[in-house]
């Protein structure tokens, strides 16, 4: 009997530190998880399932007076039993901490979800660190003091930290959309595969930049742009021909769709796509591509336009993925993946 009581006792003690779990089905590449977390430590991992699974440990003790009651705060009511409020609204799942005092959370979520981590002002949130890995969707992280660590990510990253370090290791597959990494006080450390095709736009105001990648300074190459213009003209011709006969259509390995009003063709082939817009006079042409790199041709000159035009630009292999880095006081490290 005694042993039994002892065992029960031990179990009771253990259960207070036992990790508790919350699960909810939520997945899809067009869906978002928005987290507003103040924890001791937050680790997020992408996986190939379809549920968001949150494991909490070291939950703060709740006073006896709160027996049978649920925590509630501006973030909502605890509907997960782990100090979090989880609310689904359309395509967005919002998860907020509602219990003060910090717990440790391990989150597993479907890897194609998009993630947004909100910043809490004047908060030493997640002081033991925050890490995100294996997410393929887009990630947006904002922090005050805590360091941001991203591993094996392949979606666009929009990150900023006031006082923390930002460290990102990209997957071999690079994002198509532009990324932006901004850090005020501390370093930015980015690792990409040496075969990746990246256009870096970097500015380190007070710090230094270091790299072991084979970067080349980037200036829009008039030749490349000339070639692109030619390709565009060619596409128009293909398009026109395609209108004329099925044989011509079959012969081209691009498929042309003719635009009736202007007689110009839009061609499309797997691979990169670009958008060309011409202003009314026809002299100002803007060529934009899916990765957000933009050229313009006007007044007889080719220009490369980018909103952060003051920052020096470097190309790794080809200017495909755009990554914009700004560091005020820290250094910037660009590394080759080993």
């Amino acid at each position: 009997m005694r042993k039994y009581m002892l065992f029960l006792g031990a179990l009771a003690i253990a259960s207070s530190t036992y990790a508790q779990t919350y699960k909810t089905k939520f997945s899809g590449a067009n869906k978002q998880v928005v987290m507003d977390m103040d924890a001791k430590q937050l680790d997020i991992e992408g996986y190939s399932g379809d549920e968001v699974i949150i494991e909490a440990s070291d939950l703060p003790k709740v006073p006896q007076e709160a027996d049978g009651l649920r925590p509630l705060s501006a973030g909502g009511v605890d509907n997960t039993n782990i100090g979090l409020s989880s609310n689904l609204n359309g395509d967005i799942l919002r998860i907020n901490v509602v219990l003060k005092g910090k717990a440790t959370y391990k989150v597993k979520m479907p890897q194609d979800l998009n993630l947004i981590i909100k910043k809490r002002n004047s908060c030493s949130c997640n002081e033991n660190g925050m890490s995100i890995s294996g997410i393929k969707g887009s990630i947006e992280v904002n922090t005050n003091y805590e360091d941001i660590t991203l591993n094996n990510v392949s979606g666009p990253i929009v990150a900023n930290s006031s006082q923390g370090k930002i460290k990102i290791v990209f997957d071999d597959k690079m994002p198509e959309k532009p990324s932006s990494i901004v850090s005020y006080s501390d370093n930015v450390d980015i690792t990409v595969s040496e075969k990746a095709k990246v256009l870096f736009s970097i500015s380190a105001s007070d710090g230094n930049m270091f790299t072991d990648l084979d970067l080349k300074p980037y200036t829009p190459d008039p030749k490349t742009i000339e070639e692109e213009k030619k390709a565009y003209e060619e596409a128009r011709i293909i398009g026109r021909k395609a209108m004329e006969s099925d044989a011509a259509r079959a012969a081209s390995d691009r498929v042309a769709i003719r635009s009736q009003s202007s007689g110009t063709a839009t061609t499309y082939a797997p691979g990169n796509r670009a958008y060309i817009s011409q202003s009314g006079e026809g002299n100002n042409v803007v060529i934009g591509s899916t990765n957000g790199v933009v050229y313009s041709f006007s007044d007889g000159q080719y220009r490369y336009w980018d909103s952060d035009r003051n920052a020096p630009k470097y190309v790794l292999n080809e200017p495909q993925t755009k990554i914009s880095i700004r560091s005020t006081r820290g250094n910037v490290y660009l590394r080759k993946k080993k």
């Binding site: 947006e140 990150a159 900023n160 901004v182 110009t264 499309y268 797997p270 909103s307």
Partner: protein, 305 residues
Amino acid sequence: MLNEQIITDYLLGHLSEAERVVFEQRLSTDPVLRKEVEELKQVWQMLQNTEADTDSQMDEAFYKALQGEKILATTVVKLSPSPWRQYFKYAAAVAGIAITFWIGRQTAPIQIEYRTIAAASTPSTPPPTHTASLQEAESTEEDFSNTKIPHKKGKQESIDQQIASLRKEMKMTQELVILSLLKERSASERLKGLNYAAALNNPKPAVIQALIKTLREDESLNVRLSTIETLERFKQTDEVKKVLVNQLARADEPIEQSTLIETLVRMRVKESLPVFEQIQKDEKVDESVRILAKNSIGELSMITE
């Protein structure tokens, strides 16, 4: 005005007998009042005359219309054996709308078209399926719903899918693309919109307004920073300068503050001096931003001299 009310009542005959007598007595003794009454009377008469004129014209028109209606009424009653005519009316209406629509499209000044960048011989994997959400510009008229696309085996099928999504994409002008990108949920898409905006030579006011709104309201610091840099590119109107100064007064992120300070100095905006001074004194502001503000006061004062 009391006078006017009484005069009106008098002219309309609304005064009681006793009141009328009193009023007329007043009239005989008060030349100013007499004058007022006369003037008002004249105005009224003029109005009545013009009304009378219109009335006769209106009458004519009315009778003509009535005739017309009568004729129409008789024809309608026929319920006749030429439904053709009826359908023609509807067809004409539809054609009219279609023509107007078509004319409208013709006059659309800006077109955006797709085209491939990679002249690569081996097509790589098809672009990700979330292109549908991109909503990026599209070509103009597409009249291809009936076109047959040659079948070329497996690869062709994915091209078919992609063409289908191309077709679905909306036809938008350059500005609309940017405006819609700026509203996207994903910060990365908004950054893309800013890149496109930065490439415009003469952005329409709607685009500048959208940029201003983004600067003030966007949740993402990265997007706001990119907006500041984009705004600096354009003709720097007073409105833009004002917005930047206001944003500096509201910003509390050190990097946003320092970017704004540097931008305002480059743009030589004198109006930012008071805000710089405020920041320099504010102890809650990060030390290096305060130093930057202090130095910028010096720099800006020198330039404007």
